[in-house]
């Protein structure tokens, strides 16, 4: 049902993210640490895909990062507020995969989930397990 289609969308986003993770950081030098990779996601990847930067990046420095976008372009034309809240996951699945794919090419295994409190503000949570 819906779970299957969400995971299909997420895996599509994953493949695209892998390709973007190869193409975008081409001329930039190698990343020094995880935080640099996340900053690259927030700035370069988001600008390339959505023509805007991520609005905020927070971390607990132990592998959890919360990326917040206050006007997510895929949700912006839909509604503003609580309307269509239950439809929102469909539009976020691909983007979660995108983030996970880009992280994967850059050498970081992660779990990405998204949550919406009120359209069009959405938060992407990136969990990087410590090995």
């Amino acid at each position: 049902g819906q779970k299957m289609s969400l995971s299909v969308l997420e895996s599509m986003g994953f493949r695209v993210g892998q390709a973007l993770g190869e193409r975008l950081p081409r001329e930039t030098l190698a990343f020094r640490e995880e935080l640099d990779v996340l900053k690259f996601l927030c700035k370069d990847l988001w600008v390339a895909v959505f023509q805007k930067q991520m609005d905020s990046l927070r971390t607990n420095h132990q592998g959890t990062y919360v990326l917040q976008d206050n006007s997510f372009p895929l949700l912006l034309p839909m509604a503003s507020g609580l309307q269509y809240l239950e439809e929102a996951p469909k539009f976020l699945a691909f983007t979660c995969g995108l983030l996970r794919g880009a992280l994967c090419t850059l050498g970081i295994e992660s779990v990405v989930t998204a949550s919406v409190a009120a359209l069009p503000v959405c938060k992407f949570q990136v969990l990087i397990p410590k090995s």
Binding site: E22, R32, G107
Partner: protein
């Protein structure tokens, strides 16, 4: 010019190896394999070095009596190794860098191909055409692609002509 080019995945298995003298390929495979240790050394040395010195091009890995081996690593830890003939002293550093840059571009194009699964051996001859002939790292790909596109466009335009008469159904009968 280069006698052997190899693309190695981040788990250190080869994705693509091609050498010009097709006899005695095993020697080049072995050379590429041994150069991986040097690449790993350089990467870990780079990790401890100052921030400003981080670069994708690794430079000369090691010289043997007949050949020189150069290395390059991408942000996704995919390594490119190139073996050139030592007797060709006219080959300068920036030429090697430009060859690696072309290889990186071709590899990125392969990655973006939706029919390619990351981690598979690179079978496509089209994708690495600029570097598949190690002797001439030339613009072969750029020459082929525009004419291919032009013929495709011409076919599409020809098919689209009767669009007005047949209505929307005509569009799908290619």
């Amino acid at each position: 010019m280069a006698v052997c080019i190899a693309v190695i995945a981040k788990e250190n298995y080869p994705l693509y190896i091609r050498s010009t003298p097709t006899e005695n390929e095993l020697k080049f495979h072995y050379m590429v394999h041994t150069s991986l240790d040097v690449v790993d050394e350089k990467i870990s040395a780079m990790g401890k070095a100052l921030v400003d010195q981080r670069e994708l091009y690794l430079g000369l890995l090691y010289p043997t009596e007949d050949y020189k081996v150069y290395g390059y690593v991408t942000n996704s830890k995919v390594k490119f190794v190139m073996v050139v003939d030592s007797s060709n002293t006219a080959l300068r550093d920036n030429e090697i860098r430009s060859m690696f840059r072309k290889l990186h571009n071709s590899y990125t194009d392969v990655m973006c191909n939706p029919f390619y699964n990351p981690g598979d051996r690179i079978q496509s001859r089209w994708a690495l055409l600029p570097v598949s002939d190690p002797v001439q790292v030339g613009p072969a790909f750029c020459v082929l692609l525009p004419s291919f596109c032009r013929t495709c466009l011409a076919i599409l335009v020809a098919k689209m002509q009767p669009f007005g008469k047949q209505g929307r159904k005509g569009l799908f009968k290619l």
